[in-house]
Amino acid sequence: MKRLLIVALMLLMCAAAPPEKAQRTVELEAPVIEREPDPKVPGGEIWKASGGVTLTTPDVNIKADSMIANVGKDRTMEQVRAVGGVVIKGSRKTADGIEQRLNATCNEAIYFMSEERLLLSGNVRGTVVEVERERTVELTSDKAHLWLREDRMMFERAKVKFTEPEKPAPKQE
Protein backbone atom coordinates (compact mmCIF):
# COMPACT_ATOMS: atom_id res chain seq x y z
CA MET A 1 0.00 0.00 0.00
CA LYS A 2 2.83 2.34 0.96
CA ARG A 3 4.67 1.55 -2.26
CA LEU A 4 1.56 2.20 -4.27
CA LEU A 5 1.16 5.56 -2.59
CA ILE A 6 4.76 6.51 -3.38
CA VAL A 7 4.35 5.50 -7.03
CA ALA A 8 1.11 7.47 -7.25
CA LEU A 9 2.78 10.50 -5.69
CA MET A 10 5.69 10.29 -8.13
CA LEU A 11 3.30 10.03 -11.06
CA LEU A 12 1.39 13.06 -9.77
CA MET A 13 4.63 15.04 -9.46
CA CYS A 14 5.63 14.13 -13.01
CA ALA A 15 2.21 15.19 -14.29
CA ALA A 16 2.34 18.45 -12.33
CA ALA A 17 5.78 19.45 -13.72
CA PRO A 18 5.40 22.11 -16.40
CA PRO A 19 6.16 20.84 -19.90
CA GLU A 20 9.50 22.12 -21.15
CA LYS A 21 9.34 24.36 -24.14
CA ALA A 22 10.95 23.01 -27.27
CA GLN A 23 14.41 24.45 -27.75
CA ARG A 24 16.19 25.11 -30.99
CA THR A 25 19.78 25.91 -31.65
CA VAL A 26 20.90 28.57 -34.08
CA GLU A 27 24.52 28.50 -35.19
CA LEU A 28 26.52 31.27 -36.81
CA GLU A 29 29.98 30.61 -38.23
CA ALA A 30 32.32 33.32 -39.50
CA PRO A 31 36.00 34.33 -39.36
CA VAL A 32 35.03 37.43 -37.35
CA ILE A 33 32.13 37.68 -34.89
CA GLU A 34 31.45 40.86 -32.92
CA ARG A 35 28.97 41.56 -30.15
CA GLU A 36 27.77 44.90 -28.88
CA PRO A 37 24.81 46.21 -26.90
CA ASP A 38 21.90 47.37 -29.03
CA PRO A 39 21.72 51.17 -28.60
CA LYS A 40 18.03 51.16 -29.57
CA VAL A 41 16.86 48.32 -27.33
CA PRO A 42 17.85 48.38 -23.63
CA GLY A 43 19.06 44.90 -22.74
CA GLY A 44 19.22 43.91 -26.38
CA GLU A 45 22.35 43.00 -28.28
CA ILE A 46 23.70 42.99 -31.81
CA TRP A 47 25.90 40.30 -33.28
CA LYS A 48 27.89 41.16 -36.40
CA ALA A 49 29.60 38.48 -38.44
CA SER A 50 31.80 39.03 -41.46
CA GLY A 51 34.24 37.40 -43.84
CA GLY A 52 31.88 34.74 -45.19
CA VAL A 53 29.14 33.76 -42.81
CA THR A 54 26.99 30.65 -42.46
CA LEU A 55 23.79 30.63 -40.42
CA THR A 56 22.28 27.26 -39.61
CA THR A 57 18.87 26.78 -38.03
CA PRO A 58 16.67 23.68 -37.95
CA ASP A 59 14.66 25.16 -40.85
CA VAL A 60 17.06 27.04 -43.04
CA ASN A 61 20.70 27.44 -43.99
CA ILE A 62 21.88 30.87 -45.14
CA LYS A 63 25.31 31.84 -46.47
CA ALA A 64 26.34 35.42 -47.10
CA ASP A 65 29.30 37.79 -47.08
CA SER A 66 28.18 39.36 -43.79
CA MET A 67 25.31 39.15 -41.31
CA ILE A 68 23.85 41.19 -38.49
CA ALA A 69 21.69 39.46 -35.90
CA ASN A 70 19.47 41.20 -33.34
CA VAL A 71 18.88 39.63 -29.96
CA GLY A 72 15.97 41.12 -28.05
CA LYS A 73 15.48 41.93 -24.40
CA ASP A 74 14.02 38.45 -23.86
CA ARG A 75 17.39 37.10 -25.11
CA THR A 76 16.04 35.41 -28.23
CA MET A 77 17.46 36.07 -31.67
CA GLU A 78 14.79 38.03 -33.45
CA GLN A 79 16.09 38.66 -36.91
CA VAL A 80 19.16 38.14 -39.04
CA ARG A 81 20.04 40.40 -41.94
CA ALA A 82 22.32 38.75 -44.51
CA VAL A 83 24.06 40.95 -47.04
CA GLY A 84 26.05 40.14 -50.18
CA GLY A 85 25.97 36.96 -52.23
CA VAL A 86 23.17 35.41 -50.21
CA VAL A 87 22.50 31.70 -50.75
CA ILE A 88 19.52 30.15 -48.97
CA LYS A 89 18.66 26.50 -48.61
CA GLY A 90 15.68 25.31 -46.67
CA SER A 91 12.87 22.85 -46.52
CA ARG A 92 9.35 22.86 -45.18
CA LYS A 93 6.20 20.80 -45.22
CA THR A 94 2.98 22.16 -46.61
CA ALA A 95 -0.36 21.75 -44.85
CA ASP A 96 -1.08 18.66 -46.93
CA GLY A 97 2.25 17.13 -45.94
CA ILE A 98 4.17 17.77 -49.14
CA GLU A 99 7.86 18.44 -48.68
CA GLN A 100 9.15 21.54 -50.42
CA ARG A 101 12.85 22.20 -50.91
CA LEU A 102 13.77 25.83 -51.31
CA ASN A 103 16.90 27.15 -52.95
CA ALA A 104 17.42 30.84 -53.54
CA THR A 105 20.08 33.43 -54.23
CA CYS A 106 19.75 37.19 -53.77
CA ASN A 107 21.64 40.29 -52.71
CA GLU A 108 20.02 40.74 -49.32
CA ALA A 109 17.85 38.63 -47.03
CA ILE A 110 16.19 39.16 -43.68
CA TYR A 111 15.22 36.12 -41.66
CA PHE A 112 12.53 36.89 -39.07
CA MET A 113 13.10 34.04 -36.68
CA SER A 114 10.01 34.15 -34.51
CA GLU A 115 7.76 34.09 -37.60
CA GLU A 116 10.11 31.86 -39.59
CA ARG A 117 9.69 34.27 -42.47
CA LEU A 118 12.27 35.21 -45.09
CA LEU A 119 12.31 38.49 -46.96
CA LEU A 120 14.57 38.32 -49.99
CA SER A 121 15.49 41.29 -52.14
CA GLY A 122 17.76 42.26 -55.01
CA ASN A 123 17.97 39.96 -57.99
CA VAL A 124 16.12 37.10 -56.35
CA ARG A 125 16.43 33.76 -58.13
CA GLY A 126 15.06 30.60 -56.70
CA THR A 127 13.55 27.19 -57.11
CA VAL A 128 10.96 25.37 -55.07
CA VAL A 129 11.01 21.63 -55.62
CA GLU A 130 8.11 19.50 -54.45
CA VAL A 131 9.68 16.10 -54.16
CA GLU A 132 6.56 13.95 -54.09
CA ARG A 133 4.85 15.74 -56.96
CA GLU A 134 8.09 16.14 -58.94
CA ARG A 135 7.03 19.74 -59.47
CA THR A 136 9.57 22.54 -59.76
CA VAL A 137 8.84 26.24 -59.57
CA GLU A 138 11.59 28.49 -60.89
CA LEU A 139 11.31 32.21 -60.30
CA THR A 140 13.11 35.48 -60.70
CA SER A 141 11.89 38.47 -58.77
CA ASP A 142 12.78 41.81 -57.21
CA LYS A 143 11.41 40.89 -53.81
CA ALA A 144 10.15 37.66 -52.29
CA HIS A 145 8.48 36.71 -49.00
CA LEU A 146 8.69 33.11 -47.87
CA TRP A 147 6.75 31.87 -44.86
CA LEU A 148 8.48 28.69 -43.79
CA ARG A 149 5.75 27.67 -41.37
CA GLU A 150 2.87 28.28 -43.73
CA ASP A 151 2.26 27.25 -47.33
CA ARG A 152 2.65 30.81 -48.41
CA MET A 153 4.95 32.80 -50.71
CA MET A 154 4.69 36.25 -52.16
CA PHE A 155 6.69 37.77 -55.00
CA GLU A 156 6.96 41.26 -56.39
CA ARG A 157 7.62 41.74 -60.09
CA ALA A 158 8.23 38.06 -60.58
CA LYS A 159 8.60 35.64 -63.43
CA VAL A 160 7.53 32.17 -62.44
CA LYS A 161 7.98 28.97 -64.39
CA PHE A 162 6.28 25.74 -63.34
CA THR A 163 7.63 22.39 -64.45
CA GLU A 164 5.60 19.26 -63.85
CA PRO A 165 5.93 15.76 -65.25
CA GLU A 166 3.46 15.16 -68.03
CA LYS A 167 0.42 13.24 -66.89
CA PRO A 168 -0.32 10.14 -68.91
CA ALA A 169 -3.30 10.70 -71.23
CA PRO A 170 -6.53 9.03 -70.06
CA LYS A 171 -7.18 5.79 -71.83
CA GLN A 172 -9.88 6.05 -74.50
CA GLU A 173 -12.34 3.21 -74.60
Partner: protein, 198 residues
Protein backbone atom coordinates in the same frame (compact mmCIF):
# COMPACT_ATOMS: atom_id res chain seq x y z
CA UNK B 1 108.43 -18.35 -9.69
CA UNK B 2 110.23 -15.25 -10.95
CA UNK B 3 107.16 -14.22 -12.92
CA UNK B 4 105.04 -14.61 -9.77
CA UNK B 5 107.39 -12.36 -7.76
CA UNK B 6 107.33 -9.75 -10.55
CA UNK B 7 103.53 -9.73 -10.60
CA UNK B 8 103.38 -9.34 -6.81
CA UNK B 9 105.64 -6.28 -7.05
CA UNK B 10 104.12 -4.64 -10.10
CA UNK B 11 100.41 -5.14 -9.39
CA UNK B 12 100.10 -2.82 -6.31
CA UNK B 13 102.02 -0.08 -8.12
CA UNK B 14 99.76 -0.32 -11.18
CA UNK B 15 96.66 -0.37 -9.01
CA UNK B 16 97.75 2.71 -7.07
CA UNK B 17 98.54 4.54 -10.35
CA UNK B 18 95.11 3.68 -11.73
CA UNK B 19 93.37 4.91 -8.59
CA UNK B 20 95.42 8.09 -8.61
CA UNK B 21 94.42 8.69 -12.24
CA UNK B 22 90.70 8.30 -11.46
CA UNK B 23 90.92 10.53 -8.44
CA UNK B 24 92.77 13.12 -10.47
CA UNK B 25 89.93 13.12 -13.04
CA UNK B 26 87.31 13.58 -10.36
CA UNK B 27 89.31 16.30 -8.74
CA UNK B 28 89.44 18.26 -12.05
CA UNK B 29 85.66 17.91 -12.50
CA UNK B 30 84.93 19.13 -8.99
CA UNK B 31 87.00 22.23 -9.59
CA UNK B 32 84.99 23.09 -12.70
CA UNK B 33 81.75 22.62 -10.77
CA UNK B 34 83.02 24.89 -8.06
CA UNK B 35 83.93 27.50 -10.64
CA UNK B 36 80.45 27.37 -12.14
CA UNK B 37 78.86 27.63 -8.70
CA UNK B 38 81.06 30.61 -7.82
CA UNK B 39 80.10 32.31 -11.10
CA UNK B 40 76.41 31.72 -10.37
CA UNK B 41 76.69 33.19 -6.87
CA UNK B 42 78.56 36.20 -8.22
CA UNK B 43 75.89 36.72 -10.92
CA UNK B 44 73.12 36.55 -8.34
CA UNK B 45 74.95 39.05 -6.16
CA UNK B 46 75.33 41.40 -9.12
CA UNK B 47 71.61 41.07 -9.88
CA UNK B 48 70.76 41.73 -6.26
CA UNK B 49 72.86 44.88 -6.33
CA UNK B 50 70.81 46.23 -9.24
CA UNK B 51 67.48 45.07 -7.81
CA UNK B 52 67.78 45.87 -4.14
CA UNK B 53 64.07 45.50 -3.30
CA UNK B 54 62.47 42.15 -3.87
CA UNK B 55 59.36 41.54 -1.87
CA UNK B 56 58.01 38.06 -1.42
CA UNK B 57 54.71 37.63 0.35
CA UNK B 58 52.25 34.80 0.71
CA UNK B 59 48.44 35.11 0.77
CA UNK B 60 48.56 38.78 -0.08
CA UNK B 61 45.74 41.07 -1.10
CA UNK B 62 46.79 44.20 -2.92
CA UNK B 63 44.97 47.05 -4.59
CA UNK B 64 46.30 49.44 -7.19
CA UNK B 65 44.54 52.80 -7.38
CA UNK B 66 44.66 55.78 -9.73
CA UNK B 67 45.56 59.37 -8.81
CA UNK B 68 42.02 60.01 -7.59
CA UNK B 69 42.12 56.97 -5.36
CA UNK B 70 39.77 54.90 -7.48
CA UNK B 71 40.74 51.24 -7.66
CA UNK B 72 42.33 50.00 -10.90
CA UNK B 73 42.64 46.42 -9.82
CA UNK B 74 42.44 44.29 -6.74
CA UNK B 75 44.53 41.16 -6.55
CA UNK B 76 44.63 38.23 -4.19
CA UNK B 77 47.15 35.47 -4.63
CA UNK B 78 48.77 32.55 -2.89
CA UNK B 79 52.21 33.97 -3.61
CA UNK B 80 53.50 37.29 -4.88
CA UNK B 81 57.02 38.38 -5.73
CA UNK B 82 57.48 42.05 -6.50
CA UNK B 83 60.56 43.37 -8.21
CA UNK B 84 61.06 47.06 -7.59
CA UNK B 85 63.44 47.62 -10.51
CA UNK B 86 61.00 46.50 -13.19
CA UNK B 87 57.86 47.38 -11.18
CA UNK B 88 56.48 43.96 -11.84
CA UNK B 89 54.77 41.46 -9.66
CA UNK B 90 54.75 37.75 -10.31
CA UNK B 91 51.69 36.15 -8.76
CA UNK B 92 50.75 32.52 -8.38
CA UNK B 93 47.18 31.28 -7.96
CA UNK B 94 45.85 34.78 -8.50
CA UNK B 95 42.38 36.28 -8.59
CA UNK B 96 42.06 39.75 -10.07
CA UNK B 97 39.17 42.17 -10.08
CA UNK B 98 39.58 44.78 -12.80
CA UNK B 99 37.78 48.09 -12.34
CA UNK B 100 36.27 50.35 -14.98
CA UNK B 101 35.83 53.96 -13.81
CA UNK B 102 36.06 52.81 -10.22
CA UNK B 103 33.43 50.07 -10.62
CA UNK B 104 34.23 46.36 -10.60
CA UNK B 105 33.95 45.11 -14.18
CA UNK B 106 35.77 41.82 -14.58
CA UNK B 107 36.95 39.05 -12.31
CA UNK B 108 39.69 36.79 -13.66
CA UNK B 109 41.62 33.87 -12.21
CA UNK B 110 44.82 32.28 -13.46
CA UNK B 111 47.60 30.09 -12.06
CA UNK B 112 50.34 32.50 -13.20
CA UNK B 113 50.08 36.25 -13.49
CA UNK B 114 52.58 38.99 -14.26
CA UNK B 115 51.42 42.48 -13.35
CA UNK B 116 53.27 45.64 -14.25
CA UNK B 117 52.42 48.31 -11.68
CA UNK B 118 53.89 51.16 -13.74
CA UNK B 119 52.38 50.36 -17.13
CA UNK B 120 49.27 48.97 -15.41
CA UNK B 121 49.15 45.84 -17.51
CA UNK B 122 48.35 42.33 -16.37
CA UNK B 123 49.23 39.12 -18.16
CA UNK B 124 47.41 35.98 -17.10
CA UNK B 125 48.70 32.56 -18.13
CA UNK B 126 48.18 28.88 -17.62
CA UNK B 127 44.42 28.76 -18.26
CA UNK B 128 42.36 31.84 -17.54
CA UNK B 129 38.79 31.92 -16.31
CA UNK B 130 36.83 35.09 -15.94
CA UNK B 131 33.41 36.55 -15.41
CA UNK B 132 32.05 39.94 -16.42
CA UNK B 133 30.68 41.54 -13.26
CA UNK B 134 28.23 43.76 -15.13
CA UNK B 135 27.03 41.57 -18.01
CA UNK B 136 27.26 38.13 -16.44
CA UNK B 137 29.38 36.73 -19.29
CA UNK B 138 31.86 34.02 -18.53
CA UNK B 139 35.04 33.50 -20.48
CA UNK B 140 37.81 30.98 -20.69
CA UNK B 141 41.12 31.09 -22.59
CA UNK B 142 44.69 29.83 -22.41
CA UNK B 143 46.11 33.34 -21.97
CA UNK B 144 44.78 36.83 -21.45
CA UNK B 145 46.07 40.36 -21.09
CA UNK B 146 44.47 43.47 -19.63
CA UNK B 147 45.59 47.03 -20.31
CA UNK B 148 44.44 49.92 -18.14
CA UNK B 149 45.26 52.64 -20.70
CA UNK B 150 43.20 51.01 -23.44
CA UNK B 151 40.68 49.53 -20.97
CA UNK B 152 40.94 46.41 -23.06
CA UNK B 153 41.05 42.67 -22.58
CA UNK B 154 42.80 40.42 -25.08
CA UNK B 155 42.57 36.67 -24.81
CA UNK B 156 43.95 33.93 -26.99
CA UNK B 157 44.00 30.17 -27.31
CA UNK B 158 40.71 28.29 -27.37
CA UNK B 159 38.60 31.24 -26.30
CA UNK B 160 35.04 30.62 -25.13
CA UNK B 161 32.67 33.38 -24.11
CA UNK B 162 29.21 32.54 -22.88
CA UNK B 163 26.05 33.65 -21.24
CA UNK B 164 23.02 31.58 -20.28
CA UNK B 165 21.54 31.36 -23.76
CA UNK B 166 24.57 31.63 -26.03
CA UNK B 167 28.15 30.51 -26.39
CA UNK B 168 30.77 31.79 -28.80
CA UNK B 169 34.12 30.14 -29.46
CA UNK B 170 37.16 31.42 -31.33
CA UNK B 171 40.93 31.69 -31.35
CA UNK B 172 41.30 35.31 -30.20
CA UNK B 173 39.11 37.74 -28.28
CA UNK B 174 39.37 41.49 -27.92
CA UNK B 175 36.94 43.40 -25.75
CA UNK B 176 36.32 46.10 -23.19
CA UNK B 177 36.93 45.31 -19.52
CA UNK B 178 33.33 44.29 -18.83
CA UNK B 179 33.20 42.28 -22.09
CA UNK B 180 30.15 44.19 -23.27
CA UNK B 181 31.75 44.82 -26.65
CA UNK B 182 33.75 41.89 -27.92
CA UNK B 183 35.32 40.77 -31.16
CA UNK B 184 36.19 37.14 -31.74
CA UNK B 185 38.38 35.89 -34.52
CA UNK B 186 38.58 32.24 -35.48
CA UNK B 187 38.90 29.73 -38.25
CA UNK B 188 35.92 30.13 -38.07
CA UNK B 189 34.56 31.65 -34.88
CA UNK B 190 31.26 30.03 -33.95
CA UNK B 191 28.22 31.44 -32.15
CA UNK B 192 25.61 29.04 -30.81
CA UNK B 193 22.31 30.40 -29.55
CA UNK B 194 19.78 28.20 -27.81
CA UNK B 195 16.32 29.63 -27.90
CA UNK B 196 12.87 28.48 -27.03
CA UNK B 197 10.51 27.98 -29.93
CA UNK B 198 7.60 30.35 -29.78
Amino acid sequence: MKRHIMLRRVAPVALSMLLAGCAGGRLGEKTAQEKREAARVARERREDRFAPVRLRQENLKSTLSDEEGRPIWEATSKLIEVEEKTKTGRLEGARFIFYDNGKPALEARAPLVTANYEEKTVQLRGGVEGISLTGGYGFRAKEAEWEYEKKQVRASGGVTLWREEWRVVGDELTGDTALNRVRLVGKPARLMVTQKSK
